[in-house]
C-alpha cells in the first residue's frame, strides 16, 4: 500500500477528549476515545477496513474513556495494543467495569495486547517521516505516588525529527506539562484539562506556559459542560504567553446560552461525524504533515476567524 501522509485529527466529541492519528501505513492510533455515545465508534463501524494500531487512554474519567466498550466492539479484532493507566482505586465500580471489558476483549482476541501507559516509552515511530509518538508522563513512581487521578494523567508528544510538534496533556496540570516539556515549543498543545487545569490560578502558571510556549492550544470542550470549562484565566495566560486558543465547541463563556449555535460547519467539510450534543466552534481540526510541519485547513481557519468575531464575547480574541 502506498504511504499516506501523517494526519492528526482532534475530534469534536462534545465534553471530552479524542484524537485520531492516521499513520502512513493506513492504520490509526486513538488518543482517548471520548465520552459514551460520541461518534467515534460509529465511525469505526462504517470504516471497517481500518486497523487500530493502538488506543492510548491517558486518563480514566468518563469523558476520556466512556466510549471504550463501543470502540472495542466497533473495531472488533482490529485493535493492536491498548495502553491504559491505573489511576484510581481497584474498587471503583466504573473502573472495574473498564478493566473487565479490556480483559474480556483480550481473551476474545478483540485486542492483541494490553499495556500500562508508562514513561518513557515510544508508542510508534516512522523512520521515513522521522516522526515518533512518545509517552512523557507518568513514570512508574509518579503513577504510584499520585494523590489524584488528574495528577497521574498521561502526557504524550508527537515529534518530527526530534522537534515536538504536538503535545497531548490530558487532564494534568500546567506545572507538569512544563516539567516534562520545557522549551519544547510545540505547534499544538491539547488541553490540559479542557482549558481548566487545576493550577490555572497559580501565580506561576503564566511562567510555566511561557516555558512550554505552545503556538496553539486546542481546548476539547462541550457546550453543555457543567464545569465552566474553559476557564478565562487559562485562556488569558495562553494568549499572554504568545499562543492562540481554539475550542472544539462553543460555550457560554463566549456567547449567551440561548444564542449558542454552530459557528462553522467544519464536521461536514472534513467528512467527519458531528456529535449529538453541543455547538461547533472550530469543531474538529485536521492537521496534515507537509514538509516537516503540520498544516491545518486554511479555508476553515479563515472562516472560523471571521465567524467568531460575530459572537458576544469571544474569549480567544477579545481584549483583556
Amino acid at each position: 500500500m502506498a504511504q499516506q501522509p501523517l494526519v492528526v485529527e482532534f475530534w469534536d466529541v462534545g465534553q471530552g477528549d479524542c484524537s485520531v492519528i492516521h499513520l502512513p501505513s493506513g492504520e490509526i492510533i486513538l488518543i482517548d476515545v471520548g465520552p459514551r455515545g460520541n461518534p467515534i465508534s460509529g465511525w469505526l463501524i462504517s470504516h471497517g477496513n481500518i486497523r487500530v494500531h493502538s488506543i492510548v487512554l491517558t486518563h480514566n474519567d468518563a469523558d476520556h474513556i466512556g466510549a471504550l466498550n463501543a470502540v472495542v466492539d466497533g473495531a472488533r479484532s482490529r485493535i493492536g495494543t491498548v495502553y491504559f493507566l491505573e489511576d484510581r482505586s481497584r474498587k471503583d465500580d466504573v473502573f472495574v467495569r473498564l478493566v473487565r471489558r479490556l480483559d474480556t476483549a483480550k481473551k476474545c482476541g478483540e485486542v492483541t495486547n494490553i499495556r500500562r501507559l508508562e514513561a518513557p516509552r515510544v508508542l510508534w515511530s516512522d523512520s521515513n517521516s522521522g516522526s515518533s509518538l512518545e509517552v512523557k508522563f507518568p513514570p512508574v513512581l509518579s503513577n504510584i505516588m499520585a494523590p489524584s487521578a488528574n495528577e497521574t494523567a498521561g502526557v504524550l508528544s508527537l515529534s518530527i525529527h526530534s522537534a515536538v510538534k504536538i503535545l497531548w496533556a490530558s487532564d494534568t496540570t500546567i506545572e507538569n506539562v512544563a516539567a516534562q516539556c520545557q522549551g519544547s515549543r510545540p505547534e499544538y498543545l491539547v488541553g490540559p484539562h479542557h482549558g481548566a487545569p487545576a493550577d490555572r490560578g497559580d501565580k506561576r502558571a503564566l511562567a510555566w506556559l511561557k516555558s512550554v510556549s505552545p503556538r496553539k492550544v486546542v481546548v476539547s470542550v462541550g457546550s453543555g459542560n457543567d464545569y465552566k470549562h474553559p476557564q478565562v484565566n487559562y485562556i488569558r495566560d495562553v494568549r499572554t504567553s504568545g499562543g492562540a486558543v481554539v475550542c472544539t465547541q462553543l460555550t457560554p463563556r463566549c456567547e449567551n446560552k440561548r444564542k449558542l449555535r454552530d459557528v462553522i460547519k467544519s464536521h461536514a467539510r472534513l467528512g467527519l461525524p458531528q456529535p449529538n450534543s453541543g455547538f461547533t466552534c472550530r469543531g474538529p481540526i485536521r492537521l496534515t504533515l507537509e514538509g516537516g510541519d503540520f498544516v491545518s485547513n486554511d479555508t476553515l481557519d479563515v472562516e472560523h476567524a471571521v465567524s467568531i468575531l460575530k459572537l458576544k464575547s469571544p474569549r480567544c480574541v477579545e481584549p483583556f
Binding site: 508508562e118 467539510r269 449529538n276
Partner: protein, 219 residues
Amino acid sequence: MILAPDIPTERASYLANELPRTVEVSSSSQFDLDVPIEAELDQRHFAFGEYFLILERYPTIAYYRRTYELEIRGWNVRLPWQRGGEISREIIRKFLFLLRKAERKELSKHEEREWEEISRQADYRRFCVEHAPAIFTEGRLLAATPADLEIEWHDGTKEVVPRSVAKSLELLNPGESFTALANFGEGNKLVSISQVAPAPSAEVIDGETLWRSWPSNRS
C-alpha cells in the same frame, strides 16, 4: 426515527416524493427564453428510502424554458422538467455522493467548493445523529415504573427512559446488568435499543482478582 423522546423536534415531511410546489421569486419577459424563472421550493425536508435530509433554508429552483430543464440552485443538479418529482432523490444523491468523497478525502477542488455550499445548507448534525449505526453499550436496569425505566450506563451516568423507547429492556429484572446495541440522540439521550442481553453484574467481579492476572510493564 425521532431525535429524543422528550425533545420537541420538527416533524418530518414525507410529501417529499410528491411533485414540488414552488413559489416564484423572479420572473423574466416571456420573450426572453434564455433567462430562467426562479422559484423557491416550498419544502425543506427531503426523504428517499432510508435517508432523510433537512435543509436549513428553502432551495431555489431555476426553470430553463429553452431546454425544458430545472436546476437546483447551489447544488449543481439539472433535471428535465418532467422529472421534477425526483428533486428529493437528486438532492439526497448529491449530498451522499459528496459526503462519501469528503469522508474519504477524495474531493476535487471543484467538488470541495460544491460541498462547502451544500453542507452549509444542510442540517448535518441531525443527519449524522439520525443515520448513525447502533453502537454497543452496557448498563444496568436500576428501577422500573409503569411508565419509565431507570438505567445506569457503564460510565456511571443515569437516565430515565420511557418504556415506549426501551421496550426490550423489560426483559430484565431491576438490578440486572445488560449489553445491547443502542442509538443515542440529541443530548446523548437514548433513542432506541435492541439486542438486549443480560450480563454478569460488575458487583460479582472482584477487582482484585481481575488485577492479579493483569498484564504489567513492570513485570
